[in-house]
C-alpha cells in the first residue's frame, strides 16, 4: 500500500469500528429498554456483547487466539492447544458495508461482514488472531481466503465433506480434524496432549450442559425473551468459556425461580414462534427483535449458532487420543444440520421435533439475500410444514435497516394471523 492508500485504509477502518460500536450499543439499548421485565442475570451477556463490538474482549492470561469462521470448527482442539477460539462470523451492518466493496454484489451480508471485520482489523480482541479457520461449509466463506484484499493473517481451510451419512464422508472428516490438530500444534507451538484434550472436552461439555438446561427451561413457558436467548448463544464464543458457563448456570437458577413465581396460568397467550434459517448474530438481531416487538414469543431457534451448543456431548469410551479425536469429529459432523449437506433430512426432523416439544404456533424462516443454501432449503421446509399445518413466514433480508417497515408489516400480519387462528 502506498501512503495515500494507507491513509484511506486507516480512515475506513476507524470509521467502521466507530459505526460498529454505535450500532451495537443501539441494539443493546433496544433490547434492554424497549422490553420490560429484563432479567438481572442477562447483564453479563449484554456486557460481553458490548466488549466484543468494542474490540475489548478480555484475555487476562494473554493467550494466543484463533479466529473461527463457522461453528463447525472443533474448539476443543483449540483449547487443548492452550489457545482461545473466538468466532468472527459477524452480524454487523457496518462491517458488511466495509466488506461489500471487496466481494461480488450478490454476496450475503454475513460473509460481507466477516470479511469486513478481517479487512478493517476490527477483531474483538486488541491483537490479531494467529490464524483464521474456515470450514468449507458455505461456498462464499470458503472463497474468502482467495479474495485479493491484502489481508496478512493466514487462513486455514478446514475441509468438510458435502454429505455426512456415508462412511467415506465420515472418514474424510475424521482425517480433516486430525490434520487440524497437527496444524494447531504447529502454529501455537503447543502440543495437544491426551490430558489437555480431555480437559478441553470436559470444559466444553460443561458449557453444553448448562445450555441444555437453559433450553429445557424454555420448553414449558417463555421464561426469557428469545432475543436474549440468541444473544446468550452468540456470546458463547466470546468470553472465557468457564466464566460464560458459570454465568449461564446462575441465570438458569434465576429462571427456575421466575418459573415457579410468575406462573399463574392466566397470562395472555403469545404466539409461540420458532426461528430458523440464516443465523441472527449480534448485533444483527433485527428480525428477532421485530418478532418480539410485534407480540410473538420466540420459544426456540434452530440457528447453527445456538444448536451447536445442543449437540450431543463428545462420547468417549477410553480417554486416549485414538478414541477422543474420532469421537470429537463424529459429534461435529453427525449433529450438524447445515444446509450445505445433501441430504439434510436431519434438519427437517429437528424442526419438527422443536415444533412438538416447544408447542410452536408458527415458524419464521430467515434467509439472508445471497445465501443460496438456506434459500434452497426453504422450499422443502415450507412444503413439510404445510403438510403438518404449521404456518411459516419466509423472510428474505440482510443486515441493512432499510426494510424494517416491510418487515414490521410482515411479522405483524403473521402474528395477527396466528392469533386469529389460535
Amino acid at each position: 500500500m502506498n501512503k495515500n492508500e494507507n491513509k484511506r485504509y486507516e480512515r475506513l477502518s476507524a470509521k467502521s469500528k466507530g459505526q460498529l460500536i454505535i450500532e451495537s450499543e443501539n441494539v443493546l439499548q433496544e433490547m434492554q429498554q424497549k422490553f420490560e421485565n429484563t432479567i438481572p442475570g442477562m447483564e453479563y451477556f449484554y456486557d460481553v456483547a458490548k466488549q466484543y463490538a468494542g474490540g475489548q474482549l478480555k484475555n487476562p492470561e494473554r493467550k494466543k487466539y484463533i479466529a473461527t469462521n463457522c461453528i463447525q470448527v472443533p474448539i476443543e482442539l483449540i483449547y487443548a492447544a492452550n489457545a482461545l477460539p473466538i468466532r468472527i462470523c459477524s452480524g454487523a451492518y457496518s462491517m458488511s458495508q466495509a466488506g461489500a466493496g471487496l466481494l461480488p454484489a450478490k454476496s450475503c451480508s454475513l460473509v460481507n461482514a466477516t470479511l469486513g471485520t478481517i479487512y478493517t482489523n476490527s477483531f474483538p480482541l486488541a491483537q490479531k488472531p494467529l490464524t483464521i479457520i474456515t470450514p468449507t461449509t458455505c461456498d462464499q466463506k470458503k472463497k474468502l481466503s482467495e479474495i485479493p484484499s491484502g489481508i496478512d493473517i493466514p487462513f486455514y481451510t478446514l475441509e468438510m465433506p458435502p454429505s455426512k451419512d456415508s462412511e467415506e464422508a465420515q472418514e474424510y472428516w475424521y482425517r480433516s480434524v486430525k490434520k487440524l490438530k497437527g496444524e494447531l500444534e504447529r502454529i501455537t507451538g503447543n502440543r495437544i496432549t491426551r490430558s489437555k484434550l480431555k480437559k478441553a472436552i470436559i470444559k466444553v461439555a460443561q458449557a453444553q450442559r448448562a445450555f441444555r438446561h437453559f433450553h429445557q427451561l424454555r420448553k414449558e413457558e417463555a421464561v426469557i425473551r428469545g432475543t436474549d436467548a440468541i444473544l446468550i448463544a452468540n456470546t458463547f464464543f466470546y468470553d472465557n468459556i468457564d466464566t460464560w458457563t458459570s454465568h449461564l448456570v446462575s441465570l438458569n437458577a434465576e429462571l427456575e425461580m421466575r418459573k415457579s413465581r410468575d406462573h399463574n396460568g392466566s397470562e395472555s397467550r403469545y404466539p409461540r414462534i420458532l426461528l430458523t434459517g440464516s443465523p441472527s448474530i449480534f448485533p444483527n438481531l433485527k428480525l428477532p427483535i421485530m418478532i418480539e416487538k410485534m407480540g410473538g414469543s420466540i420459544v426456540a431457534d434452530e440457528f447453527c449458532s445456538s444448536n451447536r451448543l445442543l449437540y450431543d456431548t463428545v462420547a468417549v469410551d477410553e480417554w486416549n487420543m485414538y478414541d477422543m479425536v474420532p469421537a470429537l469429529s463424529d459429534r461435529y459432523l453427525k449433529a450438524c444440520t447445515c444446509p450445505c449437506f445433501t441430504p439434510n433430512n436431519d434438519r427437517e426432523r429437528k424442526i419438527l421435533a422443536y415444533i412438538k416439544d416447544f408447542k410452536v404456533d408458527g415458524v419464521v424462516y430467515q434467509s439472508f439475500s445471497g445465501c443460496q443454501l438456506y434459500e434452497l432449503e426453504s422450499l422443502r421446509i415450507s412444503a413439510v410444514l404445510e403438510k403438518e399445518n404449521v404456518p411459516m413466514l419466509y423472510v428474505e433480508t440482510d443486515y441493512s435497516p432499510d426494510d424494517k417497515g416491510q418487515l414490521a408489516t410482515r411479522t405483524e400480519a403473521f402474528i395477527e394471523s396466528i392469533k386469529n387462528n389460535l
Binding site: 417497515g405 410482515r410 394471523s417
Partner: protein, 271 residues
Amino acid sequence: MDYFTGIDIGSTAIKIAIIDEDRKLVAWKVAPTGSKFNENARDAYNALIQEHNIRLPEVQHIVSTGYGRRLYKSADDTVSEITANAIGASTVSHEHSIRTIINIGGQDSKIIKINAQGFVQNFIMNDKCAAGTGRFLEMASRNLEVDIDQMGEQHKRSLNRSLTVNSTCAVFAETEIISLLADGNKKEDIIAGIHTSIARRIARLAGRTTIQDDVLFDGGTAHNSGLIEALEEEFMRDFIVPELPQITTAVGAAYMAMDLFLKKNLHQTVS
C-alpha cells in the same frame, strides 16, 4: 347513528372508509399520501365526514392500517394491512368465497390466502424491490407520457402484439422502455409488455404457494384493465375485481373498528 372508520395509509394514497352500524359503506375517499402522513390523513378525514354530515363524536372507533398506520395519531387501534385486506376482501363480495387475494399496491405486492372466516392463513410479499408494484407502472407511465388511467385502454389496443420487457429491476426496465421507444415500437405494445412483466413477477411470487379459487384482485392497480388481463393470462384463471378495489383494505379496517368497539363494550357491560 354510530359510525366506524378504517384509514389505510399506503405509500401512494390514503384510503378512508366509513361504515355505519348496519355495516353499510356510507362514505369513502382516496387522497394522495404526500410527505405528511398524519396531517394529510387528518385533513382528508375531516373533509370526508363534513361532506357526509357525520359528526366526529358519532364515529365510535377508528382503526388505521397500511404503511403509515402508526403515524396516524387519532387511531384507536392499528392493524397490519394484510389482516385488514383479508377481512375487507371477504366482506366486499358476498356472492363469492374468496380464498386468495392478490394485492398490488404502490410499493408492495402480496398474495394472501384466507379461510372462510376471512382470517389470513398464509401470505407472501415481494422483497424490497419495486418491479412488481404500482411504482413500476407509475414510472412507465411517466416515461411513455401516457396517463396512468389510460394504460388499460392502451393495452387493449395492442391486440396481442405485446413486447417483452425482461428487466427484473425497475430502474433497468426504465432504460429498456426507453430503448424500445427509440426502436420505434408502439406505446400500446410496450404497455402490454409492461403489464405482462408485472403479471409474470406476481405469478413467480405465487409459485411459493398453491393458489385456491376464488381469487380476488385489489389495490390501486386493479383499476387497470390491462393488468387484470395480463394477470388472468399468467395465472390462467379468472379474477374477481371488486367495484372499489383501492379501498378494500380500508373497508376491512372499518369492519375491524366495529368489531373491536363491540368487543370492548361487551367487555365493559360484563365487568
